[in-house]
């Protein structure tokens, strides 16, 4: 989680990674997921949060969440 805490993240989804100087953009749900990850929530809880807040089933939400986590890992923002 320390990697995520080192990022500078704006409210509208702009992410700056000081260690490399790279910038990223994410959307509303991406921001929400990062927020939950920072709070230390496990994946199944995040999926519950998403399905409560958004019009989506658990299978799709889970699939998209794990894909998003892969992105974060690939960009070395997550362990």
């Amino acid at each position: 989680m320390s990697k995520l805490n080192s990022l500078a993240i704006s409210d509208n989804g702009f992410i700056f990674k000081p260690s490399t100087g790279e910038s990223f953009t994410t959307n509303e749900l991406g921001l929400l997921i990062i927020h939950h990850l920072k709070e230390g929530k496990p994946a199944n809880e995040i999926i519950d949060e998403i399905t409560t807040e958004f019009e989506i089933d658990k299978v799709t939400a889970g699939r998209d969440l794990y894909e998003y986590l892969d992105f974060l890992k690939r960009e070395n923002m997550l362990d």
Partner: protein, 450 residues
Amino acid sequence: MNKKIYERPVLRKVVEGIPNKFGSVKRLQPIETIDNVPIDGIIEKYGSPVFVISEKTMRETYRTAHRAFSTRYPKVQFAWSYKTNYLDAVCRIFHQEGAWAEVVSGFEYEKAIDNGTPGNKIIFNGPDKSDADLIRAINNKSLVHIDHFDELYTIIGLVDKLKERPQVAIRVNMDTGIIPQWDRFGFNYENGEAWNAINRLLSNGKIDLIGLHIHIGTYITMSKAYATAVEKLAALANKTYDRFQTSIGYIDVGGGFASQNTLQGAYMLATDTTPSFDDYAHSITTAMTAVNFPNNETPMLILETGRALIDDAGWLAGTVLANKRLADGRRSMVIDAGVNLMFTAFWYDHEIYPVHESSFQSEPTTIYGPLCMNIDVIRKNIDFPMLNKGDHFVVKRVGAYTMTQWMQFITYRPNIVLIDEKGEVHLVRKAEDKEVFRRQELVPEYLQNK
């Protein structure tokens, strides 16, 4: 409580660099209807994928092209290039507009006859004409465009058996500044082969040479090349008159006008670079009026343009089958229409659009067809909205060569529908099913189940 609309999470790296001079890519606007007919409804009724042809676009395009030439030159005749799209409904619409038929095989010739085209309004091109094809065409007074010496001698050999005098033209190839120069069809101008062919034809005395034909290439974006061709054909016509006192009745400049589909590797979009019908008409008719034909006669100008007349009228609607990540993390999308239906995807950057707005995010995406073949790529690495499985897409400008060059590979070819000028949808070619193949195949008795 109303829940929020879901949009899957995305993360995009901001890539630094100098923006290109055309600015950033604008977001793709969905296309929900074709001629005001909802695409979803067409897919629901006729299945996915489905080809859709707009009669309105066909007629408007034809009239624009015809007007461009007929307002500049007194005798203009279009001949519909069957190979571009030989669906009977398509051919009949162009015939209704006044186009003759231009065919390149016995099969296409039969189609033209079945579509009610009078024999003397069929131009028979191509290198493959059997003796039976030639006899039928000549007896129908069709215009036979001779491609090679073997064909020329075949006609000379057949003359005594025929009811009618053959009405022929010779196809000429030449250097018009186009690279590559198309020299596999017809007789070469520069090396004197075309003149030799004319001599052999007219020395016979039983064959009428009524036209000269050229087809300088395909997707010609340099309209001046046609002017060069006209000048050389006029020189040939004059030489023919001087020696044989035979006037050439028509100059056929073939086809090859570019459509607005962008060729792969092109720097700019074809919508910005393709010459208009007026550009082509200006070059060709200016050359036709500038050169002197024998006796100051004005030969008829025949045009066989196919691609530019039909490409815009054709659409392909279909469905997303899957999204997946490639090994390097790039996004790919699999759709239910591949190079089996869009052979043209090998050389065009086809324009593909979502039918509905599904996401405000887009991502570099490679779009694959459904075939078990690595080469089944519809678009490489385009910025495309994130459609989900089951969402619909539509491909623009697929009227030319798709419905004739399509392949039957591992799946059936789909329905083709025509939207008429009143917005009514008509099925004009039925999707194939297993019965189509059962009818064609024979199983030897020893392999049949007892």
